[in-house]
C-alpha cells in the first residue's frame, strides 16, 4: 500500500525584488506513513513552511510532484484539501464566530455530510473539553481556549492527514505541552502527521521520522535512533548541527 503522503523532487522558486530568483524548496523527496509523525526540522527560512504550504495546496509547486492520499497537489487540490487538516501559527480563527459555529463551518465547508455535522461537532466539543465556552465568541476566549478550538477545527472533517506548521510558536510551556499531547493522540488514532518545528526537544519527543532541512534541501531523513547511529551523537541538537555544517561545508567546496 502506498504511503499517504509521497513527495518527489518538489521544488518552489520565487522571485524576490532584492534577491532575484530564490529557490525556497529544492527538489526534496520524502514519504510519510499512516500512524506516524514526520518532522521537518530546520531553522527559520529553511523551507519547511513553503513545503507544507505546497502540500496544503496554498502554494503551487514550481517543479516535482506530491500526492496526498493518492491525490496530486497540482491537479487535484480540492481533493487534497478535503483529506487534509492544516494548522499553522498564521491560520487564525474567525473572531466573530462562536467556537461551535467555527467547528460547524469547517466541518461543512470541508465536505462533512450535513446530517452528521451536529454529531461531529458535539463529539469534538466533548473531546477537546470546550463545552463550557462552546457558545462564546472566539475573540472572547483565552489563548489556551483558542488553541483547543483551533485544533478541533483542524480535525472538524476527520481528515486522515494532518499538517502542523510550527504549532507551538507563541504558546506558553503548558499550552505547548498540551498541543504535543494532542498531536501524539492523533498519531495513536492512525493519522498521518507532518510536523515542522525548529525546537529540537519537540521533534525529539514527538517525531517518528525526522527530516533535517536547510536552504530548501533535506540533508538527512530517518528515525531518531538511526540518526544517532549514523552520527554517533546523542542529542538531536548536535545531530542537527552536524548535518547542517556538513552540508554547508560541502557547498562551500
Amino acid at each position: 500500500m502506498n504511503p499517504p503522503v509521497i513527495v518527489n523532487q518538489l521544488t518552489k522558486t520565487f522571485y524576490d525584488d532584492s534577491r532575484g530568483e530564490v529557490v525556497a524548496v529544492n527538489q526534496i523527496s520524502f514519504a510519510c506513513q499512516a500512524g506516524q509523525i514526520f518532522g521537518l526540522l530546520g531553522a527559520n527560512g529553511a523551507g519547511k513552511t513553503t513545503t507544507l504550504r505546497m502540500l496544503a495546496t496554498i502554494l503551487k509547486p514550481t517543479g516535482g510532484t506530491a500526492t496526498l492520499m493518492g491525490f496530486d497537489v497540482s491537479h487535484q487540490p480540492e481533493e487534497v484539501r478535503r483529506h487534509l487538516g492544516f494548522s499553522s501559527a498564521t491560520t487564525a480563527l474567525y473572531p466573530r464566530l462562536t467556537a461551535r459555529e467555527t467547528l460547524e463551518f469547517f466541518a461543512r465547508i470541508n465536505g462533512c455530510p450535513p446530517a452528521t455535522v451536529n454529531e461531529r461537532v458535539n463529539a469534538l466539543i466533548s473531546r477537546f473539553g470546550i463545552r463550557d465556552y462552546a457558545d462564546a465568541r472566539v475573540d472572547r476566549l483565552s489563548q489556551g481556549m483558542k488553541q483547543k478550538v483551533a485544533i478541533a477545527r483542524t480535525v472538524a472533517h476527520d481528515p486522515p492527514v494532518l499538517i502542523f506548521d510550527e504549532p507551538t510558536v507563541g504558546l506558553d510551556v503548558l499550552n505547548a505541552l498540551e498541543m504535543q499531547k494532542v498531536i501524539a493522540g492523533f498519531r495513536d488514532e492512525g493519522k498521518t502527521i507532518l510536523f515542522s518545528t525548529h525546537i529540537m526537544s519537540e521533534a525529539e519527543k514527538l517525531c517518528d521520522r525526522i527530516a533535517i532541512v536547510d536552504q530548501g534541501r533535506i540533508h538527512a531523513c530517518d528515525t531518531l535512533a538511526n540518526l544517532r547511529l549514523a552520527t554517533g551523537l546523542r542529542y538531536l541538537e548536535d545531530i542537527f548541527v552536524h548535518y547542517i555544517e556538513r552540508a554547508r561545508t560541502t557547498e562551500t567546496r
Partner: protein, 438 residues
Amino acid sequence: MNRPVASPPAQRESGLNWRQVGILYRREFRAALREKTILFNSILIPIFLYPFLLWAAFTGMMFVMGQTETLASRVAVGQWPEQHPRLRHQIERHKQIEIARAVVGEADASEAIRRGELDARIDFRHPDGKAGEMPGNFAASITFDQSKDRSVAARERIQEIIEDYRTTWVERETMARGIHPARWQTFTLDFQNLASESEMGAFVLGLMLPIIFVVMVAVGCFYPAVDAVAGERERGTWETLMSTSATRPSVVAGKYLYVATMGGLAGALNVVAVLLTVKPVFAPLFEEAGRSLKFSLPLSSVPILMLAAVLLAGFVAAGMMLFATFARTFKEGQSMITPFYMLILLPVVFLQVPGLKLTAALALIPVVNITLMLRESISGDLQWLPMLVTLIASAGAILLILRLAAFVLKFEDVVSGTFQGSLFKLLRLRLRKTSRGT
C-alpha cells in the same frame, strides 16, 4: 516580496460549488452582523443617517429663517417724501422696522451697514426727467448688504411697504381722475400648475432618492469589501480559508455575493427610511410655501428599484472586491477602494443637469444609467429601450469586472497576499511580461 518566477502550472480547480458558496456566504453574513463597523455603516447609517440629516438640515434652516423673521430691521432714512406722510407713517409703525435716527449721513450709513450695525438706508429723492414732472412723484433708493441675511430682510420689508403704498396711491389717484383701475390694469398674470400633489412629490423624490441610493449602496459595499479580503488577511484567517476544501471560485463567489447583498441591503433600507421620513420632514416645508405635496413611490417603480439595487450593488461590489484583492491590511484596503468609491459618486452630478433624460447612449454609462433609470421610474416616465440597454450594459460591466478579477486571481502571489502593489501594478507587470514574450 516574493512572486513566482514564471506562471506555475495552474492547479486544476473545479468551478463554482453552490453548496460551498452558500456555506461561505452564511459565514460572512453572520460574522458581519456581529461587526460593529459593518453593522453601523451598512445597516444603521442607511436607516438613520439620511433621514436624520434631512431633518437636521431643514430644522436648522427653519430655525435660521425664523430667527431672521423675528429680528427687527434697523433702517436709516435720508429724507422723507413731504407729500407722502402716509408712507412715512407705515414705515415708522411697521412692527419689524426700527428707524435709526442716530445715523444721518449717507457715508456713515454705508459704513454702519457694512459693519452690521445698520441693516438698510432709504433715500427718497425727486425723480429725474419726465417722471419728475409728475406731481408728488418720488424715487426711492435702498442701500443694503446682500451678504447679510438681516440686511436682505430689511430691503425686502421696505420694498414690500413701498410697492404696496405705490399700488394703493396709483389706484386712489386714478379713481380721483375718474378712471377705474380695471381700465388701466389691462394685462393680468395668473399661474396654473398642472402637476398634481403626487407628481410634485415624485419630482422631488426623483431628484433626491437616486443620489442617496448610490451613496448608500457604495457605503454599504465599502466596509464589507475591505473586510472580506484585507480584513481576513489582517486577522490571519485568509490562510485558514485557503486551506479548506472550498474551490477558489466558490470563495470569491461567496464573498462577492455577501458584499453585493450588504450594498443592496444598505440601498434598499435607505430608500425605505427616506420614504418613511420624507413626508413629516418635507411636507410641512412645502405647505408653508403654499404647496401641498404627496410623497409616495409609484407601485410601478418598486420592481425597477429592486432591479437598480441588484445592478448597482452587483457593479459596486465587483469593483470594490477587485481593488480590495490587493490589500493586505484594512488600511490598505480602504485606500485602494477609495478612488473607485469617489468615481462611483461622480455620475451623481448628471442628475443635477436640468432636463436630462435616460437615452440609449447614456444607458451605456455604468451608474449614470442606473441613477437616471431610477429617477425616471419614480417620476413614472420610464422608456423601455433605454432601460433594456441599462440592464445589458450594467450586466456586461459586472461580468467584465468579474472576468478581470478571475484573471487577477490566477496569480498565486495575489491570492496568497504576498504581491505588493495595486491592480494597475500587476497589469503593468503582466503586460510588460507578455510584450517581452512576444
